[in-house]
């Protein structure tokens, strides 16, 4: 059946009255190797992501274990109403956005900068060492790190305040200060992840054609100019796609970090969605509530990513869609 239509098309040069369906099939057939490659991946997503996706409706139910997901009573948006009507929900949401915004603002360029700087190192031992050392903190747990951070910033013993003291300033209780807490969250998060996140950019830089640099050398261009005119533009596709994908992180907070550093004095600026809903959700078997919170976060992330994608289309070809 398909062979006949293929022959018909070849003889006549183009398809005139052939139904739309056959064109589609032909296109798929033309690209059969690609679809053979794609098939296992699609199968994976169907089995492990789309089949269980019905669980999303837990957010709209009053989930009862004994009745299961399909048998529990439907409550529509009640769980979301519960979430939004919490006394502290709006401030907590605000904190989440603000903290994540600063983490993105400073934390996005940092790994790029690190990768670019590392690229300038000629001595392989130094380069490898710095690379390995900076990627270490990613693996340390916040439980272990928070103790060190609190100690470091202690108003009575911490080196920072000892230094301030020597310079004649009064000690500052950083970790309990509403003015400083967010900065501490942002800077420690960046420090912890910059080395690991730089890896993708190192990979991108590795793919740059060295002839570009050789040509620049002939023209006697300085290092700074080389970075600005060669390195950065060459990896800009990766930068754009990373920016789009990580923009969705605006709503996803780092529970471990904040929970371990949080204290009573700074909860007005530091409490975020995940710490706020921590005891409410799974701990109290309130799966519906936890699901509603999760769904809300995901929808926000989706909207942000699609917006970022839309904006990025003006500047680049390398977007998601």
């Amino acid at each position: 059946m398909n062979q006949e239509s293929t022959t018909a098309i070849n003889l006549s040069g183009h398809v005139r009255n052939a139904p739309k369906k056959r064109t589609v099939w032909k296109r798929y057939l033309d690209n059969k190797y690609f679809f053979i490659m794609l098939a296992p991946v699609i199968l994976y997503f169907i089995i492990f992501h789309y089949i269980p996706i019905y669980g999303v409706i837990i957010a709209f139910e009053n989930f009862k274990i004994i009745k299961g997901i399909t048998g529990s009573p439907w409550v529509g948006l009640d769980n979301f109403r519960d979430m939004f009507s919490g006394l502290y929900f709006i401030p907590v949401l605000k904190n989440t956005f603000i903290i994540n915004f600063y983490k993105l603002l400073f934390g996005f360029p940092a790994p790029i900068l690190l990768a670019v700087l590392l690229n300038e190192i000629r001595k392989p031992l130094f380069k490898k060492s710095v690379q390995t050392i900076t990627y270490l903190p990613y693996f340390l747990s916040w439980i272990a790190l928070s103790g060190i951070i609190i100690e470091f910033l202690s108003p009575s013993r911490g080196p920072v305040n000892v230094l301030l003291n020597m310079l004649g300033f009064k000690p500052i209780f950083f970790i309990a200060s509403v003015d400083w807490f967010r900065s501490i969250l942002v800077s420690t998060e960046i420090w912890k992840t910059v080395g690991f996140n730089a890896i993708i950019y190192l990979a991108a830089i590795a793919g740059i054609n060295p002839e570009l640099y050789e040509a620049a050398d002939v023209d006697g261009i300085s290092k700074l100019k080389k970075i600005w005119y060669i390195t950065l533009p060459s990896i800009s596709p990766v930068i754009v796609i990373m920016l789009i994908l990580t923009s969705g992180q605006i709503i996803n907070d780092d529970f471990d970090q904040i929970y371990n550093l949080l204290n009573a004095k700074v909860s007005s600026v530091g409490e975020v969605i995940s710490t706020y809903t921590y005891t409410e959700g799974i701990q109290k078997m309130n799966y519906s509530y936890a699901a509603a919170v999760g769904l809300f976060k995901n929808v926000v992330a989706l909207v942000v990513v699609l917006t970022a994608n839309f904006i990025a289309k003006r500047f680049s070809n390398e977007t998601i869609f």
């Binding site: 789309y50 274990i65 869609f321």
Partner: protein
């Protein structure tokens, strides 16, 4: 360049919908299958019995129980001595469930949601979960008559401790209360006795006045002798004891409250259940604390807690010569008298840690300060231990219920049975010497102990047997026992679940502002108004209604 088409063709979106629909259909069928209550494949036990109802006509067939009424720190090896003894005694076969203790709630709930259910389980983290389990159709009611028929001594014990109210929901009993006798002992208050002596205090402070005097001297007179004014009186762990001089402490754990963990206790006052946080006497307590903070008696870094890592009962501020008074731990954490009969007994863990840091330190168990109205006390955890519930699956077979009740009764009445199921085999795991119990494997991990069947079948801890067995410890505990406040075990109400988190934050915020001097003590009245308007009044109304219904008023 042509603009890319963003519209997904209708045929394609239909395809996507079909995929999702297919997924849902598959899920529907799988969910129905899952709820058939078959025995879970998760047990390592090679026992022949399936978890299904074993309605045998022959009375001598053993009853099979899917067992989760224990803390599964490890996976029990089937066929061990203890299991054999229990099986024989009750003519039962056990399918031991294993739930990962590091995340018990999640691990168990996902199994329940997946359609698997044991016959009997431990209701963790505490009795407040009972209403959730009942709501979700997991727990079955147990008739009071049945309990008194098969476990009369146990029932009398619970009467004595007045715990039936904690396991009732809508007038029916849904779990068997368990007792943690340590919860009857108030948390300890520990002084650096060598410091007290150094600054000239010879008597352990008892009244608020004496406390203030001692703490002031600690602050000003350099008790650690290093020439610097770097010592403070107390930090966050001992604060509730100071609040306790005026009434029930409105906040019982400042560190946890600061992280948003619910810290809202009930008290019974004038026949009504009320919330401790808004009681008027707390205003006076906070006024005093704000005075103390201003005078430097309270460590300014109490906000980040005196414990900066490690085990929760450790106090780094205390170990590092920063404060003189600590609390929150139990008598056994700080025990400073050794058991002559136990080999290598070095005292409580935290006491050992202190000595390692400050080899010449001495401690004294203090008493909570007595306030102007004669009140005093530290926090008591309360004797409620996680209760044991019988599931809807287990309740279908009356023989199972009977056996479970008989096992509870045995733990309360049979000393040898209890010691074996709770501590292990005599001669192998422990032995008795001169009326003292000696642990033969002090270094055994909880996981390995569970493997041997220790603490798997005892189900309910017997306070009397514990005291008899561990005589030295409890004698010591009794010798340092002080006044204490235990939270009133009121029934769980929905409004509490809804508002408690926010109200804890509100309380913590208000209290801290007063202590730190950022708000005047008069702001307490505004705080109470706000508290009641944002769910506090609702909670008090609901909980009293539920309680009255429960006790039949």
């Amino acid at each position: 360049m042509t603009k890319k088409r963003k519209i997904v063709k209708p045929s394609a979106s239909v395809l996507l919908c079909c995929v999702i629909a297919a997924g849902m259909l598959a899920a529907c069928s799988s969910n129905n299958n899952g709820n058939s209550g078959t025995s879970d494949s998760s047990t390592p036990a090679a026992l022949a019995g399936n978890g299904d109802n074993n309605q045998s006509t022959n009375k001598e067939d053993p009853v099979t129980i899917d067992w989760l009424a224990y803390n599964s720190f490890g996976q029990m090896t089937p066929g061990n001595t203890i299991e054999k003894m229990v099986s024989e005694k009750f003519n039962a076969k056990f399918n031991i469930w294993y739930i990962d203790s590091s995340n018990w709630v999640d691990a168990l709930n996902v199994k329940l949601a997946g359609g698997e259910m044991p016959d009997v389980l431990l209701v963790k983290p505490d009795f407040n979960t009972i209403s959730k389990y009942v709501d979700n159709g997991v727990l079955a009611p147990i008739s009071e008559d049945t309990i008194r028929q098969f476990a009369p001594t146990y029932a009398k014990l619970i009467n004595q401790y007045d715990l039936w109210n904690t396991v009732k929901y809508d007038g029916q009993i849904y779990a068997l209360p368990a007792i943690n006798i340590n919860g009857d002992y108030p948390t300890a208050l520990i002084w650096r006795e060598d410091w007290l002596k150094k600054v000239g205090i010879t008597k352990i402070p008892q009244t608020l006045q004496e406390f203030e005097e001692a703490l002031t001297k600690i602050r000003n007179n350099d008790p650690d002798g290093n020439g610097k004014k770097d010592t403070y009186g107390l930090s966050d762990y001992a604060l509730p004891a100071i609040l306790g001089a005026f009434g029930y402490p409105g906040i019982s754990d400042f560190k946890n409250a600061g992280k948003g963990i619910v810290n809202l206790d009930y008290i019974q006052k004038n026949g009504k259940i009320q919330l401790a946080a808004i009681q008027p006497e707390m205003k006076d307590a906070l006024t005093l604390l704000s005075k103390w903070y201003k005078e430097g008696l309270i460590d300014p870094e109490f906000i980040t807690s005196e414990n900066t890592g490690g085990y929760w009962a450790d106090s780094n501020a205390f170990y590092n010569n920063r404060i003189a008074l600590t609390g929150k731990g139990m008598y056994y954490h700080w025990r400073n008298q050794m058991n002559a009969n136990a080999p290598d007994d070095l005292g409580g863990g935290q006491y050992q840690n202190l000595l390692k840091a400050q080899p010449n330190a001495e401690i004294a168990f203090g008493t909570p300060p007595v306030g102007p109205d004669g009140k005093s006390g530290t926090i008591k955890w309360g004797v409620n231990a996680p209760p044991v519930g019988i599931t809807t699956k287990g309740a279908k077979d009356p023989r199972k219920v009977e056996t479970i009740l008989q096992m509870a009764e045995a733990s309360i009445t049979d000393y040898d049975y209890y010691n074996t199921t709770f501590r292990g085999v005599e001669g192998e795991d422990w032995k008795e010497e001169n009326g003292n119990y000696i642990n033969l494997n002090p270094k055994i991990t909880s996981a390995d102990a569970t493997k041997k069947g220790i603490s798997v079948f005892h189900m309910i801890e017997s306070p009397d047997f514990n005291k008899k067995f561990d005589a030295f410890n409890y004698q010591f505990a009794d010798s340092v026992k002080t006044e204490g406040y235990a939270p009133f075990p009121a029934p769980t109400v929905d409004s509490f679940t809804k508002y408690a988190g926010d109200l804890t934050k509100l309380t913590d915020d208000a209290y801290l502002k007063i202590i730190l001097g950022e708000a005047s003590p008069d702001s307490f009245d505004d705080f109470v108004k706000k508290f009641e308007a944002n769910g506090g009044a609702q909670i008090e109304k609901d909980v009293n209604e539920a309680y009255n219904k429960m006790v039949g008023k």
